[in-house]
């Protein structure tokens, strides 16, 4: 059994114009030690997938209407808020895109980290290195020490002096390091990183990626790395899932997917990578636009833009077809060829 199993998850998001079918039955399983890249154009549902795993989408607007998410065997769709809080910041860590807006500007970073450490310690006292029921003062001191150790770990120089600084006293890259430290305080088993380097300078991006790569290796974390940058996937992921308009159209180990992309969309994506720094928005080589998710096309959602489409493509959503030991593609054209 994998650490994280997303099974045929369906999600609709209510908005002003109507209800968008944002996740159209996605399945993904992430094992310990695997680093999964989740790629796709903007709006295809990468972030909502990550947020769904931590159950951080408010209902409304979110409405789940099918499927399951299992974390270490626990059905998260049935878990209540208290159960989810025992996982968040403890067994599931998260990092987001913009380090300038993700740190609370009016609190010292140490104070925020201490609260996170205390929370993690409340679920598992071993994290603070204290026996069960240690007095509050001891827990506070241990939480602060842990915060300093974590800052040191993510490469903040002079962590002891910096722990009482405010977020604006750090550069963007340093802030992202602080956020990584916070996400790792609870010694998580799964790290969800939603475009952790997108908002950073190119030179800093590489440093943060290297840091993540090292930490993941040392801790044996399972990672879900959300990105629209295939270069990033090639650098640090072991596996990749390609999303298009709420579906995972292709998934597998990075080497196989990049070498033998099966889905026409994956091929277009790979063909559209001019540099390491990919451009957001429409793909140049691909005609048409991303479908309207409020009135999605029937069957394969990529069919209206696909050169290989046949009338059958609009009939039903194509099932994933294995094309390699770990590699599968959801496309009728590929299924017919196989």
């Amino acid at each position: 059994m994998a650490l994280l199993e997303i099974d045929n998850l369906h999600l609709a998001m209510r908005s002003f114009d109507g209800e968008a079918q944002v996740l159209n039955g996605i399945s993904l399983s992430v094992d310990k030690g695997q680093v999964w890249g989740l790629v796709g154009e903007t709006g295809c549902g990468k972030s909502v997938t990550g947020l769904s795993v931590a159950r951080l989408l408010a209902s409304p607007p979110a409405r789940y209407f099918g499927g399951a998410i299992r974390f270490d065997g626990q059905d998260l769709m049935q878990a209540d808020e208290a159960a989810m809080r025992r996982l968040r910041g403890r067994r599931i860590g998260m990092i987001f895109q913009d380090p300038t807006t993700n740190l609370n500007p009016v609190f010292r970073i140490g104070e925020q980290m201490v609260d996170v450490a205390l929370h993690a310690g409340a679920t598992d006292p071993a994290i603070l290195g204290l026996p069960q029921g240690a007095p509050r003062r001891a827990r506070l001191a241990a939480a602060r020490q842990l915060a300093i150790r974590m800052l040191d770990r993510v490469g903040i120089p002079k962590a002891v002096d910096r722990v009482d600084d405010y977020p604006h006293q750090f550069s963007g890259g340093m802030r992202q390091r602080v956020l990584i430290a916070m996400a790792l305080i609870g010694k998580p088993d799964l790290l969800i990183a939603d475009e952790p380097t997108t908002a950073l300078d190119v030179s800093v991006q590489a440093q943060i990626l290297q840091l993540l790569y090292d930490l993941v290796g040392e801790e044996g974390l399972a990672v879900l790395l959300i990105t629209h940058n295939l270069g990033v996937v090639a650098q640090i992921c072991s596996h990749v899932a390609v999303m298009y308009a709420g579906n995972i159209v292709e998934s597998g180990d990075v080497r196989s997917v990049f070498k033998q992309p099966g889905h026409p969309y994956t091929r277009a994506l790979l063909a559209a990578v001019p540099t390491v720094q990919s451009v957001r928005g429409a793909l140049q080589d691909l005609p048409g636009a991303v479908p309207d998710l409020i009135h999605p096309p029937p069957g394969c959602r990529f069919a209206p833009r696909c050169a290989l489409a046949t009338p059958a493509c609009a009939q039903a959503l194509p099932a994933p077809v294995p094309v390699g030991p770990l590699h599968s593609v959801s496309c009728l054209a590929v299924g017919a060829a196989a």
Partner: protein
Amino acid sequence: MIVPVLLGLSLLVFAISHLLPGDPVALAAGPQATKTEIAALAHELGTDQPLPVQYWSYLTGLLSGDWGQSVLTRRPVLADLRIYLPATLELVVAAMALAIVIGIPAGLLSAVFVDRWPDYLSRILSLGAISMPRFFLGLLLQLGFAMQLGWLPLNGRYPIIEDPPPFVTGFLSLDALLAGDPDAVWLALTHLALPAIAMSLSPLATITRMMRSATIEVLQQDYVLTERALGLSRWLIIFKYVAKNAMSSSLTVIGLYVGWLLGGSVLVETVFDWPGIGLYATKAIVTQDFMPVMGVTLAIGVVFVLVNLVIDLLYGVLNPKVRLG
């Protein structure tokens, strides 16, 4: 900053009160007074001097603690203020404390439960509180809690038949506390309750609304999602991490309201027969007694400037960027 503000203020009140028509000295001397008697009184009070001379002597007097004489009470204005200003300040402080202690959490909760019943309740109540005139609310409170239920005294600051605690700060409740007299504390607080409530409702409503809209905005911020993703509890996030971010705008309102309540205290003081600067200034105005009017205006100005200095410091506490910038 404080010096030019107060200098300007003193010049303004001096000019206005001397440009008003009427002869306060004649009024004070009484209807039977002869011309010579009036002239003698004018000379005694210095009102026969040219205006710039009068202003200069007023200004130098201010600095040396001589704030002039009340023509009516024949007492030094500063001595009167020493009694009446604390009475009003006690009322304003109590009213603002109520408004802050209730308004901040009410606004937070209203935002958290936006468009659900706690939000509707708080919005309806604050709209009502803002639209209700304070004197009318005061009368309603008297009718309900003093006359019908008999829980609280109708008016006044302290029972006339009792001796108040020894004068230290002029805040009766505080003086009673300093005197270690729990009965006196209780008496002072029960007298304070109704006028403070009447005075607090509009700042309470405004703070609730400011806090609500600021909180709604803060709840959209990325760091709130990060804090939730890190497992922090909902209430820790709201009452610690969100509240501190949302409080800046309420702070501005608090500063403005202190001045507004001080200047407008007369309505509540009249209804509750509260012996504060509002009543004192009103009596002085109708008898054209300039010195107390100027004294009260200056005192309000000083308090207002001081309060806003404190508010500026608090901005720095709430937002570290302000402090360092």
